[in-house]
């Protein structure tokens, strides 16, 4: 599968993401600048990395979500191409309306940079099939606005349709997210947004490789 990484001014986890994808897939991902208006047909996985696009001006991800490349991402997503947004990438996907809800300031009002534990709430998605259902994995987080919020109806709908892919374990919720939500997929199951950084835990040199199976799943490297 061919991966592509979206680049926007102010992102700072793009190189970590490119390194992780290169290591796991064996080939460097294509990089796509924000002004591009189309994405090649042969791209099977689009990744929006973390950082502070446009300095978090207005709202986290708000300006990035309105850049031309996001229209191209939307068109690819509608055709079924897999899309992952991590951290600021998740915020961008929400602002672009590719996923439901919003990410608000952490309940503690503090920037949180540490390791949390994630429960794989749905191991049947295209991004989580390399894990087992209910498996608890380690993953780093680093964010100020990761407090997932949505209206009660949407929340009930997300839960009923098994769109919660990852949950923080109750004692490690770093931001006050509703229902301990750390990552969700869209209804079609081909778009994933998550606050934690799996790309920073993919090899022993990182202190663990719990994030690796996510990319192996998304890249079609595990048996479904």
């Amino acid at each position: 599968m061919k991966a592509a990484v979206i680049l926007l001014p102010g992102l700072n986890r793009d190189r970590d993401m490119i390194a992780a994808l290169t290591k796991i897939s064996g080939q460097a991902p294509q990089t796509i600048w924000q002004t591009e208006t189309s994405i090649d047909d042969d791209v099977d996985l689009i990744v929006i990395p973390g950082g502070f696009s446009y300095g978090d001006y207005l709202r986290c991800g708000a300006i990035a979500a309105r850049m031309p490349v996001m229209q191209a991402v939307r068109e690819k997503a509608e055709k079924g191409t897999r899309v992952i947004g991590v951290c600021n990438g998740f915020q961008i996907l929400l602002e672009a309306g590719l996923l439901p809800g919003a990410l608000m300031r952490n309940a503690s009002l503090k920037f949180v940079c540490r390791e949390v534990k994630l429960e794989v709430t749905n191991a049947k998605t295209a991004f989580t099939q390399g894990y087992s259902q209910g498996q608890v994995i380690r993953c780093p987080v680093a964010h100020h606005d990761g407090n997932y919020f949505t209206d009660p109806g949407t929340l009930a709908d997300l839960e009923a349709s098994n769109q919660v892919a990852f949950r923080y374990t109750a004692d490690t919720n770093p931001n006050g997210s509703l229902n301990n939500i750390a990552g969700i997929v869209n209804k079609a199951g081909n778009v994933l947004g998550m606050m934690p950084h799996p790309e920073n835990l993919i090899e022993p040199a990182h202190g663990g490789s719990d994030g690796r199976a996510l990319f192996e799943s998304a890249l079609g490297l595990v048996d479904a």
Partner: protein, 80 residues
């Protein structure tokens, strides 16, 4: 030219930890009797048109498309 103000506020029921922190800080400064504080944003926009109706329609579209995140925020347009 038309001057306008767009005010963005959190919807009722959306938790506002920043407003809460400000509320506590006001209490600490001796302002007793503050029941609650909600933080919002103000945008002062100057439009080139002199057509009031057109300006209002455009500002409303700006609020919906960019200035507010209507999942969590409401906005009001005031042509000055």
């Amino acid at each position: 030219m038309i001057k306008a103000r767009v005010t963005v506020t959190l919807k009722n029921g959306v938790l506002d930890p920043q407003g809460k922190a400000i509320e506590h800080a006001l209490g600490g400064l001796g302002f007793s009797g503050v029941d609650s504080v909600r933080q919002g944003k103000v945008f002062d926009v100057v439009l080139e048109t002199s057509d009031r109706a057109k300006a209002e329609a455009e500002l409303k579209a700006m609020g919906e498309k960019l200035l507010a995140n209507t999942v969590i925020e409401d906005f009001a347009v005031e042509v000055l």
